[in-house]
Amino acid sequence: MKVSRVLAYTTRHLFLYKRSLPRLMEVFYWPVLDLLLWGFVSVYLGRHAGDVPGFVTFFIGALILWDILFRSQQGISVSFLEDMWSRNLLNIFVSPLSPAEYVSSLMLISIVKLLLTSTVMATLAWLFYSFDIFTLGFALIPLIANLVVMGWSVGIITMALILRFGQEAEILAWGVALFFQPVSAVFYPVEVLPGWVRTIALFVPSSHVFEGMRKVISNGGFPTEDLIWAFSLNAVYIASAALFFSWNFSVVKKKGLLAKVGE
Protein backbone atom coordinates (compact mmCIF):
# COMPACT_ATOMS: atom_id res chain seq x y z
CA MET A 1 0.00 0.00 0.00
CA LYS A 2 1.48 3.31 -1.11
CA VAL A 3 -0.14 6.46 0.23
CA SER A 4 1.14 8.63 -2.62
CA ARG A 5 -0.75 6.51 -5.15
CA VAL A 6 -3.91 6.56 -3.05
CA LEU A 7 -3.74 10.35 -2.92
CA ALA A 8 -2.91 10.54 -6.62
CA TYR A 9 -6.07 8.73 -7.48
CA THR A 10 -8.09 10.89 -5.14
CA THR A 11 -7.20 13.92 -7.25
CA ARG A 12 -9.20 12.42 -10.09
CA HIS A 13 -12.35 12.92 -8.02
CA LEU A 14 -11.36 16.36 -6.87
CA PHE A 15 -10.95 17.39 -10.51
CA LEU A 16 -14.33 15.86 -11.21
CA TYR A 17 -16.14 17.86 -8.56
CA LYS A 18 -14.42 21.00 -9.74
CA ARG A 19 -15.70 20.36 -13.26
CA SER A 20 -19.08 18.86 -12.93
CA LEU A 21 -22.09 20.78 -11.70
CA PRO A 22 -24.37 17.72 -11.53
CA ARG A 23 -21.80 15.95 -9.36
CA LEU A 24 -21.62 18.91 -7.04
CA MET A 25 -25.41 19.00 -6.90
CA GLU A 26 -25.47 15.38 -5.90
CA VAL A 27 -23.42 16.32 -2.85
CA PHE A 28 -25.70 19.20 -1.87
CA TYR A 29 -29.02 19.10 -3.68
CA TRP A 30 -30.55 15.80 -2.52
CA PRO A 31 -29.45 16.01 1.09
CA VAL A 32 -30.68 19.57 1.41
CA LEU A 33 -34.02 18.71 -0.18
CA ASP A 34 -34.40 15.72 2.10
CA LEU A 35 -33.65 17.82 5.08
CA LEU A 36 -36.11 20.55 4.15
CA LEU A 37 -38.95 18.23 3.22
CA TRP A 38 -38.71 15.79 6.12
CA GLY A 39 -37.66 18.47 8.51
CA PHE A 40 -40.85 20.41 7.96
CA VAL A 41 -42.92 17.24 8.02
CA SER A 42 -41.44 16.40 11.39
CA VAL A 43 -41.96 19.92 12.70
CA TYR A 44 -45.61 19.63 11.70
CA LEU A 45 -46.04 16.16 13.17
CA GLY A 46 -44.10 17.22 16.25
CA ARG A 47 -46.83 19.71 17.11
CA HIS A 48 -49.29 16.85 17.42
CA ALA A 49 -46.99 14.32 18.96
CA GLY A 50 -46.80 15.89 22.35
CA ASP A 51 -46.19 12.59 24.07
CA VAL A 52 -43.06 11.70 22.08
CA PRO A 53 -40.45 13.89 23.69
CA GLY A 54 -37.82 15.27 21.35
CA PHE A 55 -39.69 14.02 18.28
CA VAL A 56 -38.33 16.70 15.98
CA THR A 57 -34.80 16.33 17.27
CA PHE A 58 -34.89 12.54 16.80
CA PHE A 59 -36.14 12.93 13.32
CA ILE A 60 -33.69 15.51 12.12
CA GLY A 61 -30.76 13.86 13.82
CA ALA A 62 -31.78 10.63 12.10
CA LEU A 63 -32.02 12.36 8.72
CA ILE A 64 -28.53 13.75 8.94
CA LEU A 65 -26.98 10.55 10.22
CA TRP A 66 -28.78 8.34 7.73
CA ASP A 67 -27.47 10.52 4.94
CA ILE A 68 -23.95 9.84 6.17
CA LEU A 69 -24.40 6.11 5.75
CA PHE A 70 -26.00 6.58 2.36
CA ARG A 71 -23.25 8.91 1.09
CA SER A 72 -20.49 6.74 2.34
CA GLN A 73 -21.87 3.75 0.42
CA GLN A 74 -22.41 5.84 -2.71
CA GLY A 75 -19.02 7.44 -2.39
CA ILE A 76 -17.63 3.98 -3.11
CA SER A 77 -20.02 2.45 -5.59
CA VAL A 78 -20.93 5.49 -7.63
CA SER A 79 -17.32 6.61 -7.97
CA PHE A 80 -16.55 3.13 -9.21
CA LEU A 81 -19.42 3.31 -11.70
CA GLU A 82 -17.96 6.53 -13.06
CA ASP A 83 -14.69 4.79 -13.79
CA MET A 84 -16.59 2.00 -15.44
CA TRP A 85 -18.74 4.26 -17.58
CA SER A 86 -15.77 6.27 -18.77
CA ARG A 87 -13.95 3.05 -19.74
CA ASN A 88 -11.17 3.97 -17.37
CA LEU A 89 -10.92 0.72 -15.38
CA LEU A 90 -8.25 -0.79 -17.61
CA ASN A 91 -6.11 2.34 -17.31
CA ILE A 92 -6.35 1.93 -13.57
CA PHE A 93 -5.67 -1.76 -13.35
CA VAL A 94 -2.69 -1.73 -15.70
CA SER A 95 -1.14 0.95 -13.52
CA PRO A 96 0.73 0.08 -10.34
CA LEU A 97 -2.31 1.14 -8.29
CA SER A 98 -3.42 -2.03 -6.52
CA PRO A 99 -7.08 -2.91 -5.98
CA ALA A 100 -6.63 -2.18 -2.28
CA GLU A 101 -5.16 1.22 -3.05
CA TYR A 102 -8.00 1.89 -5.45
CA VAL A 103 -10.61 1.06 -2.81
CA SER A 104 -8.75 3.16 -0.24
CA SER A 105 -8.85 6.17 -2.52
CA LEU A 106 -12.61 5.72 -2.91
CA MET A 107 -12.95 5.57 0.87
CA LEU A 108 -10.98 8.75 1.22
CA ILE A 109 -13.16 10.49 -1.32
CA SER A 110 -16.30 9.30 0.41
CA ILE A 111 -15.09 10.94 3.62
CA VAL A 112 -14.46 14.23 1.87
CA LYS A 113 -17.86 14.08 0.24
CA LEU A 114 -19.80 13.34 3.38
CA LEU A 115 -17.94 15.93 5.42
CA LEU A 116 -19.10 18.50 2.91
CA THR A 117 -22.66 17.22 2.83
CA SER A 118 -23.11 16.82 6.53
CA THR A 119 -21.64 20.22 7.29
CA VAL A 120 -24.19 21.80 4.99
CA MET A 121 -27.01 19.72 6.42
CA ALA A 122 -26.07 20.38 10.02
CA THR A 123 -25.86 24.10 9.35
CA LEU A 124 -29.25 24.19 7.67
CA ALA A 125 -30.80 22.07 10.43
CA TRP A 126 -29.51 24.58 12.92
CA LEU A 127 -30.83 27.54 10.94
CA PHE A 128 -34.26 26.11 10.16
CA TYR A 129 -35.06 23.87 13.08
CA SER A 130 -32.60 25.06 15.70
CA PHE A 131 -31.31 21.52 15.75
CA ASP A 132 -27.84 21.45 17.23
CA ILE A 133 -25.97 18.38 16.06
CA PHE A 134 -23.46 18.92 18.85
CA THR A 135 -26.07 18.00 21.48
CA LEU A 136 -24.86 14.53 20.57
CA GLY A 137 -21.63 15.61 22.17
CA PHE A 138 -18.57 13.47 21.98
CA ALA A 139 -20.67 10.44 20.98
CA LEU A 140 -21.14 12.08 17.58
CA ILE A 141 -17.72 10.98 16.41
CA PRO A 142 -18.03 7.23 17.06
CA LEU A 143 -21.65 7.26 15.89
CA ILE A 144 -20.64 8.78 12.57
CA ALA A 145 -17.58 6.57 12.25
CA ASN A 146 -19.76 3.49 12.53
CA LEU A 147 -22.13 4.69 9.85
CA VAL A 148 -19.25 5.49 7.54
CA VAL A 149 -17.67 2.08 8.00
CA MET A 150 -20.97 0.31 7.44
CA GLY A 151 -21.50 2.38 4.27
CA TRP A 152 -18.06 1.29 3.07
CA SER A 153 -18.81 -2.38 3.63
CA VAL A 154 -22.02 -2.14 1.65
CA GLY A 155 -20.30 -0.06 -1.05
CA ILE A 156 -17.41 -2.48 -1.42
CA ILE A 157 -19.72 -5.48 -1.75
CA THR A 158 -21.81 -3.60 -4.31
CA MET A 159 -18.72 -2.76 -6.31
CA ALA A 160 -17.61 -6.39 -6.24
CA LEU A 161 -20.99 -7.50 -7.55
CA ILE A 162 -20.92 -4.95 -10.36
CA LEU A 163 -17.45 -6.11 -11.38
CA ARG A 164 -18.68 -9.65 -11.48
CA PHE A 165 -22.19 -9.30 -12.91
CA GLY A 166 -21.94 -6.04 -14.84
CA GLN A 167 -24.88 -3.84 -15.65
CA GLU A 168 -27.47 -6.07 -14.03
CA ALA A 169 -25.94 -5.24 -10.67
CA GLU A 170 -25.67 -1.51 -11.33
CA ILE A 171 -29.01 -0.78 -9.77
CA LEU A 172 -27.55 -1.86 -6.42
CA ALA A 173 -25.25 1.14 -6.42
CA TRP A 174 -28.24 3.45 -6.12
CA GLY A 175 -30.64 1.56 -3.95
CA VAL A 176 -28.80 -0.92 -1.77
CA ALA A 177 -28.49 1.32 1.29
CA LEU A 178 -32.25 1.87 1.34
CA PHE A 179 -32.61 -1.87 1.78
CA PHE A 180 -31.08 -1.48 5.23
CA GLN A 181 -33.22 1.46 6.23
CA PRO A 182 -36.20 -0.41 7.73
CA VAL A 183 -34.04 -2.66 9.89
CA SER A 184 -31.77 0.19 10.89
CA ALA A 185 -34.53 1.68 13.01
CA VAL A 186 -33.60 5.10 11.71
CA PHE A 187 -36.79 6.98 12.49
CA TYR A 188 -38.28 4.79 15.20
CA PRO A 189 -36.94 2.74 18.08
CA VAL A 190 -36.06 -0.91 17.49
CA GLU A 191 -38.81 -1.91 19.91
CA VAL A 192 -41.53 -1.08 17.37
CA LEU A 193 -40.20 -3.79 15.05
CA PRO A 194 -41.80 -7.25 15.16
CA GLY A 195 -39.74 -9.85 16.98
CA TRP A 196 -38.03 -11.51 14.05
CA VAL A 197 -37.13 -8.20 12.40
CA ARG A 198 -35.67 -7.12 15.73
CA THR A 199 -33.41 -10.16 15.58
CA ILE A 200 -32.19 -9.06 12.16
CA ALA A 201 -31.73 -5.51 13.42
CA LEU A 202 -29.48 -6.81 16.17
CA PHE A 203 -26.96 -7.74 13.48
CA VAL A 204 -27.19 -4.47 11.58
CA PRO A 205 -24.61 -1.97 12.90
CA SER A 206 -26.69 1.07 12.01
CA SER A 207 -29.61 -0.02 14.22
CA HIS A 208 -27.27 0.28 17.22
CA VAL A 209 -26.08 3.65 16.02
CA PHE A 210 -29.60 5.05 15.83
CA GLU A 211 -30.60 3.54 19.16
CA GLY A 212 -27.51 5.16 20.63
CA MET A 213 -28.35 8.48 19.04
CA ARG A 214 -31.82 8.49 20.58
CA LYS A 215 -30.45 7.61 23.98
CA VAL A 216 -27.99 10.49 23.89
CA ILE A 217 -30.66 12.92 22.72
CA SER A 218 -33.09 11.93 25.47
CA ASN A 219 -30.77 11.26 28.42
CA GLY A 220 -27.38 12.62 27.45
CA GLY A 221 -24.40 10.48 28.37
CA PHE A 222 -22.45 8.10 26.18
CA PRO A 223 -24.07 5.07 24.51
CA THR A 224 -21.25 2.68 25.33
CA GLU A 225 -23.14 -0.56 24.87
CA ASP A 226 -24.66 0.40 21.53
CA LEU A 227 -21.30 1.53 20.25
CA ILE A 228 -19.60 -1.68 21.30
CA TRP A 229 -22.21 -3.62 19.36
CA ALA A 230 -21.85 -1.37 16.32
CA PHE A 231 -18.05 -1.45 16.34
CA SER A 232 -17.87 -5.21 16.72
CA LEU A 233 -20.35 -5.89 13.95
CA ASN A 234 -18.65 -3.36 11.69
CA ALA A 235 -15.25 -4.91 12.29
CA VAL A 236 -16.63 -8.26 11.13
CA TYR A 237 -18.45 -6.78 8.15
CA ILE A 238 -15.69 -4.57 6.79
CA ALA A 239 -13.23 -7.45 7.04
CA SER A 240 -15.69 -9.75 5.27
CA ALA A 241 -16.34 -7.13 2.61
CA ALA A 242 -12.61 -6.78 1.97
CA LEU A 243 -12.17 -10.54 1.74
CA PHE A 244 -15.16 -10.87 -0.54
CA PHE A 245 -13.86 -8.12 -2.80
CA SER A 246 -10.43 -9.62 -3.02
CA TRP A 247 -11.76 -13.12 -3.72
CA ASN A 248 -14.19 -11.75 -6.27
CA PHE A 249 -11.43 -9.75 -7.97
CA SER A 250 -9.44 -12.90 -8.55
CA VAL A 251 -12.53 -14.65 -9.98
CA VAL A 252 -13.08 -11.69 -12.30
CA LYS A 253 -9.49 -11.92 -13.50
CA LYS A 254 -9.84 -15.65 -14.08
CA LYS A 255 -12.98 -15.12 -16.10
CA GLY A 256 -11.31 -12.31 -18.06
CA LEU A 257 -14.09 -9.92 -17.13
CA LEU A 258 -12.03 -6.84 -16.25
CA ALA A 259 -11.86 -5.69 -19.83
CA LYS A 260 -15.54 -6.39 -20.30
CA VAL A 261 -16.97 -4.59 -17.29
CA GLY A 262 -19.63 -2.16 -18.40
CA GLU A 263 -20.14 -3.68 -21.83
Binding site: S4, R5, L7, A8, Y9, T11, R12, F15, L16, R19, S20, R23, E82, D83, S86, R87, N88, L90, N91, F93, V94, S95, P96, L97, S98, S250, K253, K254, K255, G256, L258, A259
Partner: protein, 245 residues
Amino acid sequence: MSSGVNSIVEVAGLTKVFNGTTAVDNISFEMYEGEILGLIGPNGAGKTTTLQMLLGLTTPTSGQIRLFGLDLRKNREEILNKVNFSSSYISLPFSLTVRENLMVFARLYGVREPKKMINGLLETFEIDGIGNIPTRRLSSGQITRVCLCKALLNNPRVLFLDEPTASLDPDIADKTRKLLQRIRKDNGLSILYTSHNMKEMEELSDRILFMDRGKVIALGRPEEIEKKFHGASLEEVFLKIARLE
Protein backbone atom coordinates in the same frame (compact mmCIF):
# COMPACT_ATOMS: atom_id res chain seq x y z
CA MET B 1 16.00 -17.74 -16.34
CA SER B 2 18.98 -16.94 -18.52
CA SER B 3 17.54 -16.73 -22.00
CA GLY B 4 19.65 -14.00 -23.52
CA VAL B 5 20.50 -10.64 -22.01
CA ASN B 6 18.20 -8.58 -24.13
CA SER B 7 14.98 -10.52 -23.93
CA ILE B 8 12.51 -8.36 -22.08
CA VAL B 9 9.30 -10.40 -22.26
CA GLU B 10 9.33 -14.17 -21.96
CA VAL B 11 6.21 -16.23 -22.42
CA ALA B 12 6.27 -20.01 -21.96
CA GLY B 13 3.40 -22.46 -22.42
CA LEU B 14 0.80 -19.75 -21.91
CA THR B 15 -2.77 -21.08 -22.03
CA LYS B 16 -6.15 -19.59 -21.31
CA VAL B 17 -9.33 -21.64 -21.21
CA PHE B 18 -12.64 -19.80 -20.69
CA ASN B 19 -15.18 -22.35 -19.53
CA GLY B 20 -14.38 -24.92 -22.14
CA THR B 21 -13.17 -22.63 -24.95
CA THR B 22 -9.44 -22.44 -25.39
CA ALA B 23 -8.71 -18.82 -26.24
CA VAL B 24 -4.93 -19.10 -26.01
CA ASP B 25 -3.40 -22.50 -26.58
CA ASN B 26 0.04 -23.15 -25.16
CA ILE B 27 1.95 -20.30 -26.77
CA SER B 28 5.59 -19.44 -26.18
CA PHE B 29 7.61 -16.51 -27.46
CA GLU B 30 10.16 -13.92 -26.47
CA MET B 31 10.35 -10.24 -27.07
CA TYR B 32 13.64 -8.43 -27.33
CA GLU B 33 14.64 -5.10 -25.96
CA GLY B 34 13.86 -2.30 -28.42
CA GLU B 35 11.81 -4.56 -30.65
CA ILE B 36 8.44 -3.86 -32.23
CA LEU B 37 6.51 -7.11 -32.29
CA GLY B 38 3.28 -7.16 -34.28
CA LEU B 39 0.57 -9.55 -33.19
CA ILE B 40 -1.79 -10.53 -35.99
CA GLY B 41 -4.51 -13.10 -36.52
CA PRO B 42 -8.18 -13.46 -37.40
CA ASN B 43 -10.94 -12.24 -35.06
CA GLY B 44 -11.05 -14.43 -31.99
CA ALA B 45 -7.50 -15.70 -32.48
CA GLY B 46 -6.59 -14.84 -28.90
CA LYS B 47 -4.62 -11.61 -29.37
CA THR B 48 -6.47 -9.49 -26.84
CA THR B 49 -6.53 -12.33 -24.33
CA THR B 50 -2.75 -12.68 -24.69
CA LEU B 51 -2.16 -8.97 -24.12
CA GLN B 52 -4.43 -8.99 -21.11
CA MET B 53 -2.56 -11.86 -19.55
CA LEU B 54 0.73 -10.03 -20.13
CA LEU B 55 -0.72 -7.05 -18.26
CA GLY B 56 -2.05 -9.12 -15.39
CA LEU B 57 -5.67 -8.29 -16.21
CA THR B 58 -6.56 -11.89 -16.95
CA THR B 59 -5.13 -14.81 -15.00
CA PRO B 60 -3.64 -17.53 -17.22
CA THR B 61 -4.94 -21.09 -16.90
CA SER B 62 -1.33 -22.23 -17.11
CA GLY B 63 2.04 -21.07 -18.32
CA GLN B 64 4.71 -18.57 -17.38
CA ILE B 65 5.03 -14.85 -17.99
CA ARG B 66 8.22 -12.98 -17.24
CA LEU B 67 8.96 -9.33 -17.82
CA PHE B 68 12.42 -7.90 -17.17
CA GLY B 69 13.28 -11.38 -15.90
CA LEU B 70 10.63 -11.15 -13.16
CA ASP B 71 7.64 -13.40 -12.68
CA LEU B 72 4.50 -11.34 -13.32
CA ARG B 73 2.49 -13.06 -10.60
CA LYS B 74 4.98 -12.14 -7.90
CA ASN B 75 6.20 -8.74 -9.09
CA ARG B 76 3.07 -7.02 -10.32
CA GLU B 77 3.78 -3.58 -8.94
CA GLU B 78 7.40 -3.40 -10.04
CA ILE B 79 6.55 -4.60 -13.54
CA LEU B 80 3.50 -2.39 -14.03
CA ASN B 81 5.57 0.66 -13.12
CA LYS B 82 7.69 0.00 -16.20
CA VAL B 83 5.07 -0.91 -18.77
CA ASN B 84 1.95 0.74 -20.12
CA PHE B 85 -1.04 0.01 -22.27
CA SER B 86 -3.42 1.67 -24.65
CA SER B 87 -6.10 0.55 -27.04
CA SER B 88 -8.97 1.86 -29.04
CA TYR B 89 -11.49 0.46 -26.54
CA ILE B 90 -10.37 2.39 -23.49
CA SER B 91 -11.03 6.01 -22.70
CA LEU B 92 -10.60 8.49 -19.86
CA PRO B 93 -13.09 10.19 -17.51
CA PHE B 94 -15.23 12.44 -19.69
CA SER B 95 -15.72 15.36 -17.32
CA LEU B 96 -12.04 15.98 -16.77
CA THR B 97 -9.95 17.97 -19.20
CA VAL B 98 -7.22 16.22 -21.14
CA ARG B 99 -4.54 17.75 -18.93
CA GLU B 100 -6.35 16.81 -15.72
CA ASN B 101 -6.70 13.23 -16.85
CA LEU B 102 -3.05 13.02 -17.77
CA MET B 103 -2.11 14.65 -14.47
CA VAL B 104 -3.97 11.97 -12.50
CA PHE B 105 -2.02 9.22 -14.25
CA ALA B 106 1.25 11.13 -14.06
CA ARG B 107 0.80 11.19 -10.29
CA LEU B 108 -0.20 7.54 -10.19
CA TYR B 109 3.04 6.62 -11.91
CA GLY B 110 5.00 9.07 -9.80
CA VAL B 111 6.24 11.01 -12.84
CA ARG B 112 8.78 13.70 -12.00
CA GLU B 113 7.94 17.10 -13.45
CA PRO B 114 4.52 15.94 -14.64
CA LYS B 115 3.53 19.27 -16.24
CA LYS B 116 6.60 19.31 -18.42
CA MET B 117 6.09 15.67 -19.38
CA ILE B 118 2.44 16.25 -20.27
CA ASN B 119 3.17 19.33 -22.35
CA GLY B 120 5.89 17.47 -24.20
CA LEU B 121 3.61 14.56 -25.03
CA LEU B 122 0.70 16.76 -26.10
CA GLU B 123 3.06 18.56 -28.46
CA THR B 124 4.49 15.34 -29.80
CA PHE B 125 1.00 14.09 -30.66
CA GLU B 126 0.01 17.50 -32.01
CA ILE B 127 -2.85 17.89 -29.58
CA ASP B 128 -1.55 20.70 -27.39
CA GLY B 129 -4.55 22.72 -28.55
CA ILE B 130 -7.05 20.45 -26.81
CA GLY B 131 -5.27 20.19 -23.46
CA ASN B 132 -7.79 22.26 -21.60
CA ILE B 133 -11.05 20.97 -23.01
CA PRO B 134 -13.14 18.24 -21.37
CA THR B 135 -12.43 14.78 -22.70
CA ARG B 136 -16.10 14.32 -23.59
CA ARG B 137 -15.75 16.79 -26.47
CA LEU B 138 -12.93 14.94 -28.20
CA SER B 139 -13.30 12.94 -31.39
CA SER B 140 -12.46 9.26 -31.13
CA GLY B 141 -9.16 9.82 -32.90
CA GLN B 142 -8.26 12.54 -30.43
CA ILE B 143 -9.12 10.26 -27.51
CA THR B 144 -6.89 7.60 -29.01
CA ARG B 145 -4.03 10.06 -29.08
CA VAL B 146 -4.66 11.22 -25.53
CA CYS B 147 -4.64 7.58 -24.42
CA LEU B 148 -1.33 7.12 -26.21
CA CYS B 149 0.01 10.11 -24.26
CA LYS B 150 -1.20 8.40 -21.10
CA ALA B 151 0.60 5.25 -22.19
CA LEU B 152 3.90 7.10 -22.55
CA LEU B 153 3.71 9.17 -19.35
CA ASN B 154 5.80 6.80 -17.27
CA ASN B 155 8.50 6.34 -19.91
CA PRO B 156 7.59 2.66 -20.18
CA ARG B 157 10.14 0.11 -21.27
CA VAL B 158 7.44 -2.06 -22.81
CA LEU B 159 4.31 -0.73 -24.41
CA PHE B 160 1.31 -2.96 -25.07
CA LEU B 161 -1.10 -1.64 -27.67
CA ASP B 162 -4.35 -3.31 -28.72
CA GLU B 163 -5.42 -1.97 -32.12
CA PRO B 164 -3.98 1.46 -31.34
CA THR B 165 -4.53 2.91 -34.80
CA ALA B 166 -8.07 1.58 -35.32
CA SER B 167 -9.82 4.95 -35.15
CA LEU B 168 -7.15 7.18 -36.60
CA ASP B 169 -7.37 8.79 -40.01
CA PRO B 170 -4.65 7.74 -42.48
CA ASP B 171 -2.65 10.90 -41.87
CA ILE B 172 -2.66 10.63 -38.09
CA ALA B 173 -2.21 6.85 -38.25
CA ASP B 174 0.88 7.40 -40.36
CA LYS B 175 2.19 10.06 -37.99
CA THR B 176 1.51 7.80 -35.01
CA ARG B 177 3.49 4.99 -36.61
CA LYS B 178 6.43 7.31 -37.27
CA LEU B 179 6.18 8.58 -33.76
CA LEU B 180 6.20 5.12 -32.23
CA GLN B 181 9.25 4.28 -34.32
CA ARG B 182 10.97 7.45 -33.16
CA ILE B 183 10.18 6.87 -29.50
CA ARG B 184 11.36 3.32 -29.85
CA LYS B 185 14.65 4.59 -31.27
CA ASP B 186 15.11 7.39 -28.74
CA ASN B 187 14.06 5.49 -25.62
CA GLY B 188 14.85 1.91 -26.53
CA LEU B 189 11.19 1.12 -25.95
CA SER B 190 9.79 -2.29 -26.87
CA ILE B 191 6.31 -2.47 -28.34
CA LEU B 192 3.89 -5.36 -28.61
CA TYR B 193 0.86 -4.38 -30.59
CA THR B 194 -2.07 -5.77 -32.52
CA SER B 195 -3.61 -4.45 -35.68
CA HIS B 196 -5.71 -5.67 -38.57
CA ASN B 197 -3.89 -3.32 -40.93
CA MET B 198 -1.37 -5.55 -42.71
CA LYS B 199 0.43 -2.69 -44.46
CA GLU B 200 0.99 -1.09 -41.10
CA MET B 201 2.27 -4.35 -39.71
CA GLU B 202 4.79 -4.71 -42.52
CA GLU B 203 5.97 -1.15 -42.12
CA LEU B 204 6.21 -1.04 -38.36
CA SER B 205 7.05 -4.49 -37.07
CA ASP B 206 10.49 -5.95 -36.71
CA ARG B 207 8.87 -9.33 -36.27
CA ILE B 208 5.36 -10.67 -36.63
CA LEU B 209 3.65 -13.09 -34.28
CA PHE B 210 0.87 -14.78 -36.20
CA MET B 211 -1.88 -16.33 -34.09
CA ASP B 212 -4.78 -18.47 -35.22
CA ARG B 213 -7.31 -20.17 -32.97
CA GLY B 214 -5.16 -19.63 -29.91
CA LYS B 215 -1.96 -20.99 -31.41
CA VAL B 216 1.17 -19.31 -32.71
CA ILE B 217 1.39 -20.41 -36.34
CA ALA B 218 4.34 -18.25 -37.33
CA LEU B 219 6.88 -15.97 -35.75
CA GLY B 220 9.47 -14.07 -37.74
CA ARG B 221 10.31 -11.06 -39.87
CA PRO B 222 7.53 -10.06 -42.26
CA GLU B 223 9.45 -11.25 -45.29
CA GLU B 224 10.19 -14.58 -43.63
CA ILE B 225 6.50 -15.14 -43.01
CA GLU B 226 5.61 -14.20 -46.58
CA LYS B 227 8.19 -16.68 -47.82
CA LYS B 228 7.05 -19.44 -45.48
CA PHE B 229 3.44 -19.19 -46.64
CA HIS B 230 4.23 -18.35 -50.28
CA GLY B 231 2.48 -14.99 -50.30
CA ALA B 232 3.54 -11.77 -51.96
CA SER B 233 2.42 -9.71 -49.00
CA LEU B 234 1.35 -10.15 -45.40
CA GLU B 235 -2.21 -9.45 -46.50
CA GLU B 236 -2.09 -12.34 -48.94
CA VAL B 237 -0.70 -14.63 -46.28
CA PHE B 238 -3.39 -13.54 -43.86
CA LEU B 239 -6.17 -14.24 -46.35
CA LYS B 240 -4.71 -17.64 -47.18
CA ILE B 241 -4.60 -18.66 -43.55
CA ALA B 242 -7.93 -17.14 -42.54
CA ARG B 243 -9.70 -18.96 -45.39
CA LEU B 244 -7.95 -22.24 -44.78
CA GLU B 245 -10.60 -23.37 -42.25
